[in-house]
């Protein structure tokens, strides 16, 4: 009877472990599942090309985009961003003092989970944190000076593969990743859509005249000059736009919810090269 109990216990433990594996897969396994999914869906698209969004698989749009890149509309933002970046704060410190490597070529490491603070730190969040630590006012999150500084920092990071780190031993980082993932797959708004409905299941199909981009590569090219915006904007500006398109009340830019979402989304693009800032329709 005693041995039977032990045997039963072992079977139960094995079942629980198996179930936990199914329900709570580790981020790297999930990223590979995402990569495999899109490589099957777009067998003619090289993995690195997913960093170019819809231009990876829409030939006509790609031709126009390549021509636009001859005189990119985000160029002024890079120049402005460099000037802002190099302008010292009132206390004599500057952005370079707040970042590793003086803030040059570091975008690929963002966002990261700060275990001491228990929250996800995006690049834009770190830029404003840097300002506030020097007694400066924070900048508006989605456009303008902050987006320009972010554009310059992305430009210096071009070609570096995204390297978002999540240790399977870091429960805080895993929880933030899980929360971001849940938001990505949760139906919201009156239209009852999740991000994944457009960018996983329907990726490559057209919404009116616009093809839908893939999850893979969605985080590589920010900030973006969108022609419909007529200016450069951050990823959270796009989150806001997507939310409103499905008639969901958006979260605040750089809210914990959207930083977690960016954490998940960027992790899915690990290994793809930073190619921001970029232009999009």
């Amino acid at each position: 009877m005693k041995s039977l109990n032990l045997k039963t216990l072992l079977i139960v433990c094995a079942c629980v472990a198996l179930l936990a594996g199914v329900v709570q897969a580790d981020p790297e396994t999930e990223r590979q599942t995402m990569v495999d999914y899109f490589q099957k869906k777009f067998p003619n698209v090289e993995l690195a090309e997913f960093a170019n969004g819809i231009y990876a698989f829409d030939e006509n749009a790609r031709e126009q985009w390549i021509e636009i890149e001859d005189f990119p509309p985000y160029e002024i933002a890079i120049e402005d961003g460099e000037a802002f970046f190099n302008t010292p704060f009132a206390n004599g410190r500057g952005y370079a003092d707040c970042f590793e490597n003086g803030g040059i070529a570091v975008r690929q490491n963002y966002p990261y989970f700060d275990s001491s603070k228990g929250e996800v730190i995006t690049l834009e969040f770190a830029i404003n944190q840097c300002r506030q630590d020097s007694g400066e006012q924070p900048l508006p999150w989605m456009t303008g000076e902050l987006a320009a500084i972010s554009a310059y920092m992305s430009f210096t990071s071009r070609g570096n593969p995204i390297d978002v780190q999540i240790s399977n031993d870091d429960s805080g980082a895993l929880a933030a990743y899980a929360a971001g993932k849940q938001l990505y797959f949760t139906r919201r708004g009156q239209l009852n859509f999740a991000c994944s409905h457009c960018h996983v299941q329907s990726a490559g199909l057209a919404l009116r005249a616009d093809p839908l981009s893939t999850t893979l590569g969605q985080a590589t090219h920010w900030p973006v000059y969108r022609f419909k915006w007529g200016e450069i904007g951050t990823l959270h500006k796009r989150f806001k736009e997507c939310s409103e398109q499905v008639r969901a009340q958006p979260f605040e830019a750089q809210s914990a919810e959207w930083r977690n979402l960016e954490f998940y989304l960027t992790y899915m693009s690990n290994g793809l090269e930073i190619n921001g800032p970029a232009s999009r329709r």
Binding site: D36, R188, Q190, H197, Q249
Partner: protein
């Protein structure tokens, strides 16, 4: 016996609920529902738009339209809360697997 029947009928009618008599009541009910949806992170933009339209209707002197718009805003917010309840577990159905 007659009293019991009368009490039962009146209780039944009150349980059925009656539409708010004034725009202020309808608006307050809608705002409570919107706050509940917002707390769940699931509010819809349509609720706020309907409240804006209702406020305009009442300014224009059309209180019955204002009440119906506020009621619609409340219903949208209640549906948003139902969506939040459902999605607490249903989001997993959207996950991909190879």
């Amino acid at each position: 016996m007659r009293l019991t029947i009368l009490l039962t009928i009146s209780l039944f009618l009150s349980a059925c609920g009656t539409p708010p008599a004034t725009y202020a009541d309808a608006r307050a009910a809608a705002m409570t529902a919107i706050a509940a949806a917002t707390d769940r992170g699931h509010a819809w933009t349509t609720s706020d738009q309907l409240i804006d339209e209702a406020d305009k209707a009442v300014r224009d002197g059309n209180e019955s339209l204002a009440i119906s718009l506020a009621d619609e805003a409340r219903i949208h917010a209640e549906l948003a809360v139902q969506q939040a309840d459902r999605e607490a577990t249903a989001w997993r159905d959207n996950l991909i697997s190879n």
